[in-house]
């Protein structure tokens, strides 16, 4: 798939000598949803601020649709929509006017029917003549999305889109994001809600301390880096594990009625067959079996801890 954003050896050192980004290289594919995961202060916002033109990079280069963000800033910025993390809105303005203002900033002729469609899609049409300070937090966030979409961008950056948003609205926002992707928009979102990345992202990039730790398809990452756990339910409770099973590093659960076994699903030999064989030999009777996949959250925590 064609790349829409290419980041090469991007670094940023702020005036106070804080290194926010360190030699980041990342390609973002056209029409994908990519989640940038990382703890607070990891460098996610700095990265998207550089691509959008708000922060000046210290070194490295970024292209959007093969145009350099510094040399061809007019072309690149007109392709990009940005939804910032903070609810940065002028509180006394009216919703419709404010969204139209953003369209003008991007060099587009006024298009009231398009603004009407965007506001309707985001359930804001009823509030078009309301002042922004009369809106709830969730509505303000949708106004920010409406503003970012007002000039019909092909790349949309969402910086923590669901921060401070209730569960219902978060689900609605995920649907909006999926619909946008289906309409041809490439979505780059930063989040520290792992479930958000798991729910909507095609790929995830984990950033910590300004460094890119891993980039992979969400499902592949879970499969390749995640451990699986086999939970075996027994007919009768056991007090201690038989000596024959000690080499498997089993954990006794549920007052001796279950045991769990961690294994690497990508390995050629998982050890499950020999475990079951040995259990049979020790006379343990099995009642049920189930496997559990470790979540993206476990992987994320592990990656960040190692870094």
């Amino acid at each position: 798939m064609q790349n829409i954003v290419s980041i090469k050896k991007l670094s940023k050192i702020y005036d106070n000598n804080f290194q926010a980004l360190n030699n980041i290289t990342l390609d973002i594919k056209k029409n994908e949803i990519i989640a940038l995961l990382g703890p607070n202060g990891a460098g996610k916002t700095t990265m998207i601020s550089i691509i959008c033109g708000i922060v000046i990079p210290s070194s490295g280069s970024v292209t959007v649709d093969n145009f350099d963000i510094l040399k061809d800033y007019r072309r690149t910025r007109s392709l990009i929509g940005l939804v910032p993390q903070e609810l940065s809105l002028e509180q006394f303005e009216y919703v419709f006017n404010n969204v139209s203002y953003t369209r003008g900033l991007y060099g587009k002729a006024p298009n009231p029917s398009l603004i009407e469609k965007i506001l309707k899609d985001l359930s804001l049409w009823d509030k078009r003549n309301s002042r922004i300070n009369e809106l709830s937090g969730g509505m303000k966030r949708r106004v920010l999305i409406a503003k970012a979409l007002s000039h019909e961008p092909s790349v949309l950056f969402l910086d923590e889109p669901s921060a401070g948003v209730d569960v219902e609205l978060r689900q609605e926002m995920w649907q909006v994001i999926k619909d946008l992707r289906n309409s041809g928009v490439t979505i780059i979102l930063t989040t520290h809600y792992i479930e958000e990345a798991e729910a909507i992202a095609d790929r995830v990039a984990v950033i910590n301390k300004g460094e890119l730790l891993v980039v992979d398809n969400t499902s592949d990452l879970v499969r390749s880096m995640g451990q699986k756990t086999l939970v075996i339910e027994l007919h009768e409770a056991i007090q201690t594990l038989p000596a024959q099973l000690e080499s498997y590093n089993l954990t006794v659960l549920n007052n001796g009625l279950s045991i769990s076994y961690n294994y690497d699903s990508s390995s050629k030999q998982t050890g499950i067959t020999s475990l079951l064989q040995d259990m049979k030999e020790t006379g343990l009777k099995l009642k049920d079996l189930k496997t559990e996949q470790s979540s993206l959250e476990n992987i994320f925590v592990e990656l960040v801890r190692e870094n």
Partner: protein, 253 residues
């Protein structure tokens, strides 16, 4: 040139004036009217003519300049500072807009607002004193040039300010005293010789006298020196804003 962006910024800023009509229009008109009532009609009736015009008429150019300078500075300083304060500056920075286009939008709107206020003040003055403008085209030229120059200066202040206090320091502590001591209510000749010499170091003296010359054909300073000093200050402001914007100081990290 991104004309739609310039138009968007300009109309957005003009809309702010509409929303704050009391602060933008009424406040300067009321305070200037009070000057005319107190200094022009009440005290002025007891003061002999200066440069051949009544005291009430004499102070019109000075009071007009006082308003233009303070309004131009505060309009544009607030115009750029407010989005910095609320954080909404991000969308201007992220838009495909050049620094020049941003300046034209913000400064153009600020200068327009000041021009509107200036014209309203002239109309208000005509209710209190006899108003004669000997060189109306020159007066209009100086009016527009002053609005643009000091809007640019205000834009620079807004860019560099990090809080509301810094935003107010230059207009309140520097500009207002310079205008009052710049011959807005008297001629330089009325001062003792030492203070006359000191006054020539006050740049506002040249602006007020230039405006006064366009009204009455007489002033303490040669009109060409006044116009050249105003243009010089405009160039200094353009260079200052260009340097600050190019370095991203105050808005970009």
């Amino acid at each position: 040139m991104n004309f739609y962006a310039i138009r968007a910024i300009y109309l957005h800023e003009m809309d702010r004036m509409r929303r704050t009509i009391g602060q933008s229009i009424l406040s300067p008109v009321i305070s200037t009217s009070l000057y005319f009532i107190v200094f022009g009609s009440v005290i002025g009736s007891m003061i002999p003519e200066l440069d051949g015009v009544s005291y009430g008429s004499f102070i019109v150019p000075g009071l007009l300049m006082l308003t233009l300078l303070t309004q131009s500075i505060s309009n544009s300083a607030f115009g750029i500072f407010f989005p910095k304060f609320t954080g909404s500056i991000y969308e201007v920075l992220a838009a495909p807009v050049s620094s020049l286009e941003i300046i034209i939008g913000f400064v153009g709107a600020s200068a327009t607002k000041s021009l509107i206020v200036g014209i309203i003040i002239l109309l208000t003055a005509s209710f209190f004193v006899e108003l004669k403008i000997q060189y109306p085209l020159l007066m209009l030229f100086l009016l527009i040039l002053t609005c643009l120059t000091f809007s640019l200066f205000g834009f620079l202040i807004g860019l560099l300010s990090n809080n509301f206090e810094q935003l107010q320091v230059v207009p309140l502590i520097i500009i207002t005293p310079l205008v009052f001591l710049g011959g807005s209510l008297y001629t330089i000749e009325m001062l003792p010789e030492f203070w006359q010499k000191v006054s020539y170091f006050n740049p506002v003296v040249y602006l007020i006298n230039g405006m006064r010359w366009s009204f009455y054909g007489a002033s303490d300073i040669n009109i060409f020196i006044s116009v050249v000093s105003l243009v010089g200050f405009l160039v200094a402001c353009i260079v200052g804003v260009a340097i600050v914007i190019s370095k991203g100081y105050g808005v970009k990290n």
